[in-house]
Symmetry: C3
């Protein structure tokens, strides 16, 4: 029982969840990994710093660094459209992935009791997904025509301190997300609530995403968004950056590359060939 | 001959069609159901009231009520994008579906003579579709790369008092619909007129729409838009609401649910958990 | 060797390429048709006039004329979205196609040395494509999730006098194209550079584009964009107009048809039926 007690304390002190909030034991047993329980104070500070640093850069900048670190796709999760823009002076919405898995009502897994939206950690990006069998590699990218997410969810997520939501499906209530000045990304839009078709079957679980691939032998590849991955998003799309031992090196490269490319842009505007300038400045990083 | 005479009188009195307008008998025999002929004066008033009422709400509000009435998809017709926004103080474009079926020129059905756009009834939403075999469940959703609809059609539809157009295909002349302040939805855009590829084969006929489904045994499901269905559309998409014996109950629920969800939003902004507040206020409807 | 010498002179005099720019012989042997080498001074003037004329019209206007000249699809290249709008008083972005073919790194063809972006001719539209096997007829339309094109490329293309870029794939750096006021079209957006996945294997080569078709016997058709085709693009999409012996007649029809349709729009606004007015004014062209 120490386990469940620990969570309640964590909620009360750090996450400002109302005292009326009741955590259901059954709910807990269905959360495969409550990553935020394990955060130490020092790691939380680091997390804040990482989010603050990344907010000055774009997902394109992060992809450039991931390319340099051997990630060919630059961490890009394709086909997500920005539906309510980032307002203010940040270059991107950044946070730790708080993941939620929806599944068709016919799925053998039981629906999780309680509502995921009431336990969104501050500094997170809420990421909602569907199982592979409910996904399509072509638009509309999902077989669920109902929206997975709407205005009330953004209202609560913003109140709890989330930095944005990324919905691997449809959303609704476009005006509300915009009025809240809370940034949301999705594959598509819709008008109907999720309830009649799908249920939440996992929180803080890895989300799999089916996308096209150039590999001839297979029609698709599967990307994974893990809970706790950094998510960086702007109008160009959404990038995931694992919080692993490469993180420091990835972060270190980003401003150097941005600085080099700023010099390339200046060179080009003064008439220098692009390739020559790129070769020069990027070699100095 | 009373039949055709009746229509001409109807046109002259209610629909302000020019006296020079000639209705072709062959054209009439190809219209499977001219629903507007059957409208009584009393039903017309009711229709005006329904349109006026629904214009205060969004398609999302209508979907919530349809969910409550057992319609799992909330009446949503997926993948239609708003290309020229609603201007003014209405929350959505609302009207009765005036349907037009285009088909490839190779289709055995003869082309309907006369132009559908000159007999658009006031208070309608013009809905253009294609047969199932010309549709795709993935974007671009149709096999016809030419636009089905353009600026001159919106000019005429607006003149005749239509409230919007929903094109299950491509449209062109984006600036013109916007300059007219006439709202249009479509799957995609294009530059070429429909003439070289397709012809009109039905007016006031049911339109079938192929969309993805979660059901494992089949790759797609077929929705139907019937002539005379209420169409409600905004930037979130397009909803159809049948004009049947459930209508009054569906309309009755809408403002109650909107009121409840307004209270939920206020609760959330003052820090209450979303689920608790949703359960409270929605139970009182 | 006269061949390569000729190009270098051409570059120096007309295209303002830096003297430090080195043309690789191997690169040259891989360019199947350097169409711009063959331009005579008189043809260049004609080209300027054609671009200037077409800039007053929209791709829809051009498609109308191509329809009239027997081209059923009106020259439309489907599914390209305008990502940075045309600024100023032109109705469309117009230029001669300067084509670039990317291919997966596994493609047997060697990568072309040097950078295509440094030899963009003035007055061109840069068109980037992929081989048929890397294309999809449904969105996202390509199997390459990385962007093919970004902000530095637009910076250089604009400096060299190009009039826009059409990317049959993803682009990134949306803000940069917009800040440059340089118009770009693409299928989609992304965050990662092309380098890790694809290489340039052809410059000034025909580009094939796989799109849906209504023909029952086949699921797709292939369009071709040839180097030197006129490209006309606006928010409705992208049209190609071959620079062949029909060009003069196609150009001649455009303003006449626009004039007729302006009269039709005026007629409709004064209450005339659309069909009657279209028949009247278009018969006078």
């Amino acid at each position: 029982m120490r386990f469940s007690l620990h969570i309640i304390v964590e909620n009360k002190s750090s996450f400002q969840i109302e005292s009326s909030f009741q955590i259901d034991k059954w709910f807990l047993s269905n959360c495969s990994s409550l990553t935020w329980i394990n955060m130490s104070v020092s790691k939380k500070l680091a997390q804040k710093e990482v989010i603050s640093l990344l907010s000055n850069f774009t997902p394109c900048d992060v992809s450039d660094s991931l390319n340099k670190h051997g990630i060919a796709d630059g961490g890009f999760i394709p086909n997500l459209v920005n539906r309510s823009p980032l307002v203010g002076d940040k270059s991107s919405a950044v946070g730790k992935a708080f993941t939620v898995l929806y599944a068709p009502k016919s799925d053998p897994r039981p629906a999780i009791k309680g509502s995921y939206i009431d336990i969104v950690p501050p500094g997170s990006i809420v990421v909602l997904g569907l199982p592979l069998e409910a996904q399509l590699i072509n638009a509309p990218y999902v077989k669920v025509n109902n929206a997975l997410y709407g205005g009330l969810m953004s209202t609560r997520a913003k109140y709890l301190g989330a930095n944005g939501s990324v919905i691997l499906g449809r959303i609704r209530d476009l005006d509300e997300h915009n009025d809240l000045e809370y940034p949301v990304w999705s594959y598509g839009v819709g008008t109907s609530a999720p309830g009649p078709l799908v249920k939440v079957v996992g929180i803080d679980v890895p989300l799999q995403v089916k996308v096209p691939t150039l590999e001839e032998s297979k029609p698709e590849q599967v990307l994974t968004i893990n809970p706790g991955d950094y998510i960086i998003a702007d109008k160009n799309g959404v990038v995931r950056l694992p919080d692993d031992d490469k993180l420091e090196s990835v972060l270190d490269y980003i401003p150097k590359r941005v600085d080099a490319d700023t010099k390339v842009a200046a060179d080009i505007k003064s008439g220098k060939p692009a390739k020559e300038s790129q070769d020069l400045w990027r070699s100095k990083i």
